[in-house]
């Protein structure tokens, strides 16, 4: 394991990106930060810029206006950067699959490492997903 990956696993900083969601998934992510769930105890911190982030949390159904910008943002992220798709919308577009404004699912635009299903996933599920991601990278 490289030094960068090892350091990242100690304290993965997350950046949150909504690409056409109903807000609920985004609020559940914020919920993870607040006292009941408190993911900061695992060293996870929500940061304000993609350039500081190790993990990209993507919610929403990637609509036409967001999709291109999402790609640009992903390219700006320092590597290694893992992408976590949160919620039914970003997995498969969910309810919005027939919408004229949501042409392709997220994993056709950028590579996705972890999928967390649910509409919205509970904060426990989000934390569980990120923990699985850490285990996967560590190879345990």
């Amino acid at each position: 394991m490289s030094f960068a990956v090892n350091a990242m696993l100690k304290s993965p900083w997350v950046f949150h990106l909504s690409t056409g969601s109903c807000n609920n998934c985004d609020i559940e992510i914020l919920d993870c930060l607040t006292p009941r769930f408190d993911i900061e105890r695992f060293g996870m911190l929500l940061v304000g810029s993609i350039k500081h982030a190790d993990v990209l949390l993507v919610t929403g159904s990637c609509n036409r206006k967001s999709a291109g910008r999402l790609k640009t943002l992903y390219e700006q992220a320092p590597q290694p950067c893992v992408v976590v798709a949160i919620g039914e919308c970003s997995l498969s577009r969910g309810l919005f699959i027939h919408s004229y404004n949501c042409p392709v699912p997220l994993d056709k635009i950028i590579p996705v490492s972890v999928y967390i299903p649910g509409c919205p996933p509970k904060p426990e599920a989000i934390i569980g997903g990120v923990v699985k991601l850490i285990q996967k990278v560590k190879g345990t």
């Binding site: 990106l17 807000n23 998934c25 985004d26 914020l30 006292p35 810029s49 206006k65 309810l95 404004n101």
Partner: protein, 394 residues
């Protein structure tokens, strides 16, 4: 001094939704602003026209995660207005209880975020911890933390389990002391007074000009609230007060929301105590051709839905107008003339919800706008004339 432009967004740490602000500033003072939305547009109206009346409630719920009661409430009322029918009493009470618990959690959510915008993260964490209790109440009552899936045209989908009611009451009573403390901490804090009083003032005339709604209007002394003006659900059967304050600044908007939380707690408790028995659903099978409108006072103001049915099992037209659509333009009145440091909290003060508000514009490949405001007005007038002709009206 030369003017400069500050771009904010589309993804910025301030709000969880994407939107793009451009603030034109002269030194420290904001002289102009513009907002560009559309990052959340999912074409809900068209999607809902693809679904049956029953299925559409699930799509409508997902217009906005915070208002996942308000939109279905207005939508089901619109469908019931087409038929027209009155839902059973028990369903009315259940709807009211869910709508008010949603208002409590929405107001708390805003209060926390407002603290966050001010850099007062203690309030943010404190309030969101409290909000979890209300989400628990929602989960106990409906089975879901958000997106309750409990509304359906003609009633509600699930009944409460009466064994859970004592626990719900205990949880609601349990939050009152914390809300009390919160009220004191926020309303008596000299720092917050200094930061919030007298900034972002929206006058009564401006509220009327912009047709602002909800707490934004009530904080400026305009007493409008659908729950009082045209009562529905159980709102006319319980005793509650409309909170109206006079100054229209950000501080008053905080006051209105904090005090409304108490009113909502009161409504929930009364409704639970007086919950009548009986049916919860009318089992509506067919929707006749016709038109219907439905409104509900969402936490941010009046949500309005319009349904046209052509006798099939799908809405022929579904129109949604969310409160933020009316409240957003008031930025022009509030933010201009203030300094940048106040801009964030003023922008947040109307409790904007962009997912509800999303509209779209059609452009050609070069990016030229094909439909501007005047074109849309012309199209709309032509459509009205055509419909009048078809219906044989003069």
């Amino acid at each position: 001094m030369a003017k400069s432009v500050i771009p904010i967004g589309p993804w910025h740490p301030l709000q969880e939704e994407p939107e793009f602000f451009t603030l034109t500033v002269d030194g420290e003072t904001v002289v102009d602003m513009d907002v560009s939305i559309g990052y959340n547009h999912r074409g809900i109206e068209k999607l809902s026209e693809m679904k049956s009346f029953d299925q559409a409630t699930f799509v409508i719920e997902r217009i906005c995660g915070i208002c996942s009661t308000s939109h279905p409430f207005a939508y089901t009322r619109a469908v019931e207005d087409v038929i027209p029918v009155e839902v059973p009493d028990r369903a009315k009470y259940i709807r009211t209880i869910i709508a008010e618990t949603e208002r409590i959690h929405s107001h708390l959510l805003w209060l926390g975020l407002a603290g966050h915008f001010l850099g007062y993260n203690t309030i943010y964490h404190w309030v969101w911890k409290l909000r979890e209790e209300i989400l628990d109440v929602c989960e106990i009552l409906t089975g879901n933390r958000n997106n309750y899936a409990i509304f359906k045209p003609g009633g509600v989908r699930r009944d409460f389990n009466m064994d859970d009611i004592p626990l719900v009451l205990r949880k609601i009573d349990g939050i009152i002391p914390t809300v009390d403390r919160l009220k004191k901490a926020i309303l008596d804090d000299p720092v917050l007074h200094a930061r919030l009083k007298g900034i972002g003032i929206l006058t009564k005339e401006e509220v009327i000009d912009y047709s602002a709604l909800g707490p934004t209007a009530r904080a400026s002394g305009v007493a409008k609230d659908v729950r009082k003006d045209a009562p529905y659900g159980a709102y006319d059967r319980v005793d509650w007060d409309m909170i109206v304050t006079e100054n229209g600044d950000v501080f008053d908007k905080v006051v209105v929301r904090v005090l409304e939380t108490y009113e909502s707690i009161k409504i929930v408790k009364t409704c639970i105590a007086e919950l009548p028995g009986g049916e919860i659903d009318l089992n509506i099978k067919d929707i006749p051709p016709g038109e219907g409108i439905g409104a509900h006072e969402a936490p941010r103001g009046e949500t309005f839905h319009y349904i046209r049915s052509d006798g099939t099992n799908r809405p022929a037209r579904h129109k949604v107008r969310a409160p933020t659509f009316m409240n957003l333009p008031t930025y022009k009145a509030t933010v201009i003339g203030e300094t940048i440091s106040y801009a964030t909290i003023i922008l947040a003060a109307i409790d904007p919800c962009y997912c509800c508000t999303e509209r779209m514009a059609v452009r050609d490949v070069e990016g030229k706008r094909l439909f501007g405001g005047p074109d849309l007005v012309k199209l709309s007038q032509e459509k009205t004339a055509r419909m009048k002709r078809e219906m044989g009206m003069p």
